[in-house]
């Protein structure tokens, strides 16, 4: 997407958005509700046209070649979008026809995916009787019927119990790693994004707020980290005095000091100050900063837009 703006009446859903996804990457599209994530997916699939800017999906213009673009993409919508009155098997056969799976290959492909997503036993039951996890698995199976190289997954684990969510995450991991598909995931689950994505794009009020790997975002956001410091026991008072100028001391136990709120860039200065004061240091263990901490630091205290 290059300089893409999309308005709905007075509301600007996307504002000069630029980002690119490389083949084989798993990209997370993050942001509060209304940040423009679903609009982005719709633009990339030719369901919406941009007011300004340029959109290309697999080299094609989704506005002019929408049908061709959608032939190569699979979209898991935020709600599974399945008809309760059909059985899983009927639904899959229907979607196979919609995506032009060759007639003689439909049953084999459908059964293969139902098996892969552990739905074979309930394939002839009406979807109305499926659990949320089963619906999500069926919707995910649907996105793979035509073997698309590019997947869009909008909130793939929303409203799922932890076990079902883990199952879906495992499937996404397999799709990306073993099947070598390009995957774009929209999610509010930041731990999930950190776990699954090679890179994330954070949208705020329709603009790209940040774009990079978790480590890059943590660096860009100057995320304060928690830190465990172990020093010579007799020097703990001196060490405490120094560390208090860098962050908040949460706990002192013997020679151990638990410190919070130290930015990553100031860690070398902290260590240098301790060394200069002659404090013997046994361990400096900064906590690995999370995508969540970077996201919150970048977004601030702002609630949903």
């Amino acid at each position: 997407m290059r300089g893409v703006t999309r308005r709905f009446g007075e509301v600007t859903a996307l504002d000069r958005v630029d980002f690119q996804v490389e083949y084989g990457q798993v990209i997370g599209l993050l942001g509060h509700n209304g940040a423009g994530k679903t609009t982005t997916i719709r633009l990339l699939n030719g369901l919406l046209a941009p007011d300004e800017g340029e959109v290309r999906t697999m080299g094609l213009d989704p506005v002019a070649d929408g049908a061709e673009v959608r032939r190569h993409t699979g979209v898991l919508t935020e709600t599974p979008s399945l008809d309760d009155r059909m059985s899983g098997l009927e639904a899959m056969r229907f979607w196979a026809a919609m995506w032009g799976v060759p007639k003689d290959a439909v049953d084999r492909r459908v059964m293969e995916l139902l098996e892969r997503f552990r739905l074979t036993d309930r394939a002839r039951d009406r979807i109305g009787g499926y659990s949320r996890g089963m619906r999500q698995r069926l919707a995910l199976a649907r996105t793979l019927l035509h073997d698309p190289p590019l997947l869009f997954l909008d909130e793939p684990t929303a409203a799922l119990d932890p076990v079902a969510a883990r199952g879906v995450r495992d499937m996404v991991r397999t799709l990306a790693a073993e099947d070598r598909r390009t995957v774009l995931i929209c999610t509010h689950n930041l731990a999930e994004a950190q776990d699954l994505c090679d890179r994330v794009v954070i949208l705020r009020r329709g603009r790209v707020l940040a774009d990079g790997t978790t480590a890059e975002l943590v660096g860009a956001a100057s995320v304060p980290v928690a830190l465990i410091l172990e020093v010579e026991g007799e020097q703990v008072s001196e060490a405490r005095r120094i560390t208090e100028t860098f962050g908040e001391v949460k706990r002192v136990d013997g020679g151990r000091i638990d410190l919070d709120g130290v930015t990553r860039e100031r860690l070398p200065d902290l260590v240098a100050a301790l060394v200069e004061a002659g404090v013997g240091i046994y361990r400096v263990a900064p906590e690995e900063p999370s995508l969540e901490s970077a996201y919150l630091a970048l977004y601030g205290e702002e609630t949903e837009g």
Partner: protein, 269 residues
């Protein structure tokens, strides 16, 4: 044009409709009431009327000569029965295709939005034109099927009850052929083209269904006008009305197609 996708949508929509009791009940009950119950009631009521049947004399006498001639040389009772069953019911019959297509179109379009199944359909490679055609074709085919089946039922009922008395087949006339094969499909097409436009603007099945109910009002007016002697729907009139209906239907479809864009549908998903 990808006919495989189009017929997949048609088949899916009709399968889903067939499994919804709330949708299927009117599709079965209304034709049975109108074309089994009502003709039997009319037939028995005229038989039971005795000398009161003469109240119908002014109605019969007011008919144009060519229509009176078609009622045969039988008694007033027989003429009244033929008139009601062959002419009045022919216009009444137009309610069937309109009712069927309103119910099915409301379910397959507005209902699909309500059930949140539309978005996934929009992400398929179908073009807007294919989607539009599929959404028209499903309810239209169902309307034609129910119409022809209702006519078959009506023929059986009328002829079992009256053919022996009247001495010739009842309701097996050029007027009925035109009504069933020309005017009814046109009415269904017109109703559908309006409903598809309306369904894209409403949020749910009930809302679309209520709008569909309004479409039946011109038919009710036509029936009333014929009862009041203001017009007579004969074969020529039915051909003319059918042509007009098809022309308007095609025009409304063209407008509907121009407006039928994924983007518009998404606004309410």
């Amino acid at each position: 044009m990808n006919w495989r996708s189009i017929f997949a949508i048609v088949r899916r929509d009709l399968t889903v409709v067939a499994r919804a009791k709330a949708v299927m009940i009117p599709l079965v009950v209304v034709p049975v009431i109108l074309f089994v119950g009502l003709p039997l009631l009319v037939s028995f009521a005229i038989d039971a009327a005795g000398s009161d049947i003469e109240d119908l004399l002014p109605l019969i006498e007011a008919l144009p000569e060519r229509i009176r001639a078609s009622l045969g040389d039988g008694s007033l009772l027989e003429q009244a029965q033929v008139y009601l069953l062959e002419y009045q019911f022919a216009t009444f019959f137009l309610i069937v295709p309109l009712m069927v297509c309103s119910v099915i179109a409301a379910d397959s379009f507005a209902g699909e939005k309500e059930r949140k199944t539309l978005e996934a359909l929009l992400y398929t490679p179908t073009t807007d034109r294919e989607l539009y055609l599929a959404k028209l074709l499903g309810p239209w085919l169902a309307a034609i099927t129910v119409t022809v089946a209702s006519y078959g039922l009506y023929l059986v009922v009328c002829n079992v009850a009256l053919a022996a008395t009247i001495g010739r087949p009842v309701a097996l006339t050029p007027l009925w052929v035109v009504v069933v094969l020309w005017l009814s499909p046109g009415m269904a097409a017109l109703g559908l083209s309006v409903l598809v436009i309306v369904s894209a603007r409403v949020r749910g099945f009930q809302e679309a269904y209520q709008v569909g109910g309004v479409l039946v009002l011109p038919i009710v007016a036509l029936v009333a006008a014929q009862f009041a002697g203001l017009l007579f729907v004969d074969t020529a009139f039915a051909i003319l009305l059918g042509s007009l209906t098809w022309a308007v239907a095609v025009a409304v479809m063209a407008v509907g197609f121009g407006r039928f864009r994924r983007e518009r549908l998404l606004e309410q998903v």
